[in-house]
Amino acid sequence: MKTTLFTRPAWAGIIVCAALLALLPVLNLSFPASHPLHVSSYMVALVGKFMCYAMAALALDLVWGYTGILSLGHGVFFALGGYAHGMYLMRAIGREGVYQSDLPDFMVFLDWKTYPWFWSMTDNFWYSMLLVVAVPGVLAFVFGYFAFRSRIKGVYFSIITQAMTFAFMLLFFRNNTGFGGNNGFTDFKRIVGHTITAPSTKAALYLITLAMLLGALLLCRWIVRSKLGRVLQAVRDSESRLMFIGYNPLWFKLFVWTLSAVLCGIAGALYVPQVGIINPSEMSPANSIEMVIWAAVGGRGTLLGPIIGAFSVNGLKSWFTGAFPDLWLYALGLMFILVTLFMPQGILGLAAKLRRQKEAA
């Protein structure tokens, strides 16, 4: 039996939203600032950022919503993807840094003469793209292998992932780790030969992000509807029974966990050139747990829900931090509490419930 997953109106919604999102940078470029149809560059950058967050939330939904593994450490994969891409962007600055050296400013500051070994070849764009996929992927694979093999699950797994992101944050905060300490990477100049601040480059990055987000959505849909997806949901609903039937959940969990980390890493890599900075605070436990609330607000286990959640929570955050900066944490905290207490299925679950009630009436 195959579930429909996305209903006909949902498909229509996806297509309309994607088209509208694709239109934003076009409106930004083709109309002057005074024109009523003009969309500000700020808005384009903001939505571009949200799409990266949405992709991270989607990745989280794959493990939490479908496999029942709550990760409080996805921020580390997001940030590692960002750092992997950031290494290329730092080298693309060339000699235009403050010290006019071949090395990035922070290395000059530390009095390093050459690049450390892990920076080798990062001046190649495609190699850095490989790192974006490989670094979060390998970390997730190794970490997941050990964790799942000894059948750590539930809150224990969540706490360990939180400890992992905490440890990475401490590690990256050190100057001697070789990733710029607490300033991280910033002041990027160009990406594959294009000036990074140019509106056309920004628009291109935006459209690539949109395409990747749609691609990730379709990939996740394909996975959760396949037989593999059914096994994953069985892991979520009753892992012991699945084992009694004769499945070994280890490899299923490991696959989806690693894939999720890779998606998250890609989201981070798309995030860094658009935002223009990556630093260790992205790895703080608070950031990772905020990703979870995006998925929870939208409705976990729905794929579309986390995307809606990422957009709505972050939209709300942008508005709050502008209008009532002191109240945002109250609002976020309340959101955590109210969503878990009153709408455990999120916005989409609430919508489905209302629809059923209407049909019954």
Binding site: S150, R151, R174, L329, F336
Partner: protein, 534 residues
């Protein structure tokens, strides 16, 4: 500036009233105007050894660049238009053509040390003690005469050994081998780490293959002293690490003990646990403010009031949380985790709104400040010692409550078999509430302890939440003894790793260690056996 110098000089004049007033021999002053750096340093030492007011005036003039030399080599202290000749004590208008005596960094260091050395003659015992301690850390050969003179006059049994060591340190550079040997032998009971390179230099061959210390008997004595010194330093380091490890362990224990109850016994993932610690710390702060305002004479006693206040404040917050949010989420740990995280955000922001985002100042009461010195140089601070004992008292209290009281009986019954306890007439909801309140209140007590050691700010709890969970998970869920051992074990490991790897890498190593450990023993150090496992 000049006025200040005059003031200090006058102050010193009073301090040195016992010293005879005498002018300075021009032969001592002459090298100061010369070019030979070694002669100038020697001159400073000799002038300081006079230990009188004129010596002090000359040295402070040298330090403040108001010492001038005439072309014929006379030294004058210039104050505006007037010049004082220290050799005669006469004041005259400053002559033409005098040059400022330049002071390089090396000379300045010697001058400052010598001026500190002059304090050895102060009539105030505490000031002499401070000066002697300062000198014992590092004394120059030039100061030897000064110290010997001070030693002859010193009667105090606490200051004398300090001065003897300082004299010996200064005498290490004496040209006379017998004095050097005596100095080396006198230093055998020292525990001053800065002597190690000096002694090592005397024992080892230089780069050119010859000994820098020509006398063989002195070398042998130096080698013996060095061995003793290094052994004592190693011991000091081990004892120091042990102490700081136990101290860190007691902090971890206090932070994690409440969690051992709420998470360990009740299975509630309370991410707001750190904020309950923070509330305890802020309750301490409020108590301190109250005492400052209303009972300033009894300020030292504020901690005694802060303990119950912090317990009640945190317990009350905990009970409200349990009744309004957490009890609807029993059996759904992941949801509990998210909801309590939301609570922690709200609590943090609430504290920011009330007390401001800055850290607040919580001072140790006077009986907790300072420390005791052991093994010569290791200071064990009172606040850490008190907190170590406090943590043990709290553990004992928790153990008694859980094992010897009616509430404890109910708690254990509900933990082991909720339904059966319910059937037997235990009001499980009420027990849940009380248990959560107890765990939260103990977090509040932990907050009092934390406020005595570090900064108190809205982010206080965030720093401890990961650590606390690690301690409980490592110790084994539901095991009080496991929590205690895990806390002290982690504290010790952390402090013994730190010298090799630095604080951050030590912490990372510990997190990695715990992650690996949990692979091997998913149930922690002390695993529950039997049915209750799954």
């Amino acid at each position: 500036m000049n006025k200040f110098i005059k003031l200090t000089a006058t102050a010193l004049l009073c301090l040195h009233a016992a010293l005879a007033h005498a002018a300075i021999d021009p032969a001592l002053l002459a090298p100061l105007a010369g070019d030979d750096p070694d002669a100038r340093i020697e001159a400073v030492g000799k002038i300081a050894a006079l230990a009188n007011d004129d010596a002090y005036k000359v040295l402070s003039a040298l330090k403040n660049d108001t010492l001038y030399a005439t072309p014929d080599g006379k030294v004058l202290i210039v104050d505006g238009a007037n010049a004082l000749d220290p050799a005669t004590g006469a004041t005259a208008p400053a002559p033409e053509g005098i040059d400022n005596i330049t002071v390089n960094n090396r000379l300045r260091g010697v001058v400052e040390a010598s001026m500190a050395g002059l304090k050895l003659f102060s009539q105030d015992r505490d000031e002499r003690l401070r000066a002697a301690r300062e000198l014992q850390k590092g004394a120059d050969a030039a100061q030897a005469p000064l110290i010997v003179k001070a030693l002859a006059a010193e009667q105090d049994p606490e200051i004398r050994p300090l001065l003897e060591k300082a004299a010996a340190t200064a005498n290490l550079q004496s040209p006379d081998p017998a004095i050097r040997r005596g100095a080396v032998q006198a230093l055998a009971s020292s525990s001053n780490a800065s002597l190690v390179p000096v002694l090592r230099g005397m024992v080892d061959k230089g780069v050119d293959g010859s000994y820098s210390e020509p006398d063989e008997t002195v070398r042998a004595a130096a080698a013996a002293t060095l061995q003793k010194l290094e052994r004592r330093l190693a011991l000091t380091e081990i004892v120091g690490n042990l102490f700081y490890g136990v101290s860190l362990g007691s902090v971890l224990l206090l932070a994690a003990l409440g969690l051992a109850i709420t998470f360990g016994l009740m299975g509630i993932i309370n991410m707001a646990h750190g904020e309950l610690l923070m509330i305890g710390a802020y309750a301490t702060y409020v108590c301190q403010l109250m005492f400052r305002k209303y009972f300033p004479e009894a300020l030292d006693a504020y901690l005694l009031v802060a303990l119950p206040a912090a317990f009640l404040a945190s317990a009350l917050v905990g009970i409200v949380l349990e009744r309004t949010v957490i009890r609807w989420l029993y059996g759904r740990p992941l949801e509990t985790l998210l909801a309590t995280w939301g609570i922690s955000l709200i609590l943090m922001q609430a504290v920011r709104s009330i007390f401001g985002a800055q850290n607040v100042e919580v001072a140790n009461p006077s009986w907790m400040s300072g420390g005791i010195t052991v093994l010569g140089s290791l200071v064990l601070s009172w606040n850490r010692i008190v907190i170590i004992f406090f943590s043990l008292v709290v553990v004992a209290a928790v153990w008694l409550i859980l094992n010897k009281t009616r509430l404890g009986l109910f708690v254990r019954a509900v933990t082991q078999n909720r339904r059966m306890a319910d059937c037997a007439g235990v009001s499980t909801g009420r027990v849940d509430m009380m248990t959560f309140g107890l765990g939260s209140g103990i977090a509040g007590l932990g907050g009092v302890a934390l406020s005595q050691l570090g900064n108190v700010g809205p982010d206080l709890g965030q720093n401890y939440i990961v650590d606390s969970f690690m301690v409980v998970v490592l110790g084994g869920v539901g095991q009080l003894a496991g929590t205690v051992i895990a806390a002290f074990g982690l504290g010790e490991i952390n402090k013994f790793l730190e010298p090799f790897s630095g604080a951050v890498l030590a912490k990372i190593a510990i997190l990695v260690f715990i992650i690996i450990f949990i692979q091997k023993r998913p149930q922690g150090l002390f695993a529950l056996k039997g049915r209750s496992v799954e």
